[in-house]
Symmetry: C2
Amino acid sequence: MSKKSKAVVLLSGGLDSTTVLAMARAQDYDLYALSFRYGQRHLVELESAKKVAEQMSVTEHVIAEIDLRLFGGSALTAEIEVPKHDSVADLSSGIPVTYVPARNTIFLSFALAWAEVLGASDIFIGVNALDYSGYPDCRPEYIEAFERMSDLATKAGVEGHQKLKIHTPLIEMTKAQIVQQGLALGVDYALTSSCYAPDEKGYPCGACDSCLLRAKGFAETGITDPLLTSESSSL
Amino acid sequence: MSKKSKAVVLLSGGLDSTTVLAMARAQDYDLYALSFRYGQRHLVELESAKKVAEQMSVTEHVIAEIDLRLFGGSALTAEIEVPKHDSVADLSSGIPVTYVPARNTIFLSFALAWAEVLGASDIFIGVNALDYSGYPDCRPEYIEAFERMSDLATKAGVEGHQKLKIHTPLIEMTKAQIVQQGLALGVDYALTSSCYAPDEKGYPCGACDSCLLRAKGFAETGITDPLLTSESSSL
């Protein structure tokens, strides 16, 4: 165990980050999963993150408490309505109201802090530039700029023994490709949670951007989403 | 008030950040002060931050709760002893154990989030490359890399109506110059707090790096530190 390279993996408990965790595991990293309680509407995803972390046998799972509601400004944390649509074709272009200001920058900053303490040079994040083209902090040029900044930010970077690599294995994948990759690696998607506006019991709304993209991914692979099956059976 | 440009000012309650706040005020910005409760040993500095923010008439003062102790790794947050010295000549070179991994990156990320929500393009931070040459995230090249990353990170940056400027007015100043600047702007340094390891009543130890640098700054200006005067009188 101690001879493996350590990696910090950002884990929301959703489909994308769970697939990324499985990909890091397949590359034989010693896994340190990092989740955030950031005032999101949907705490069910943290329950998913815990189950996923346990099932994937991570070495340590930290849930950091940060309150982004202090600043407002997003449908995911503030009193702005999460938009719902009839189909994926209705998804609006441009930057969606579910964009959380500087969220990935904050998340990656925490990952950087933990990576430095662990002596890790690898961070994994499930950003995707295709399905979420509206989020500026999901683009390759942003990730590269964060890496450059990181190497100037840390003691380890300055002393030259830690050149940070931010792995974004999903960045150019379609949702269907992500699902196929995860299934090939044995991911149990029934543990994951994607909805931006689940009901009180944590069931997905089926109409927000994230639900629609997830449904499209499963539809294109010709596989039924196990999350929906398990919910149907428990309803 | 509404016609002024808004600026987010990182405010620890110490000598440097208080001086920076006074400098931003002198430039007629509408002031938004941001402090952090990050598991630091010395919560007295947050009390100082509150007093300073009130005295400087900031529009809003937010104290964000983040727990950097989760990751360990610094004498300021973990169970590592804060080093003490007899004089400033004894300060060790290199990166001190009081360095908190990625701290300024995390602080600036929060400032970036708030700036975006406020529609502000200006962030002020009291980093200093002379007295604190050991901290990698206090150097100009780090600050520039953060600015470049920020313009790719945010909706406002991508849409082109917010080009972030991180102001570091102290970066090349000596502690004595900082004190002189602050006094010229009417700063009440009796409200500030600099010690890394104050006693239970919040009195400075007089022997940590931060106390020694502060003492040197006041000694070089030929002025008695009002913080010490007020303490002597209350002891």
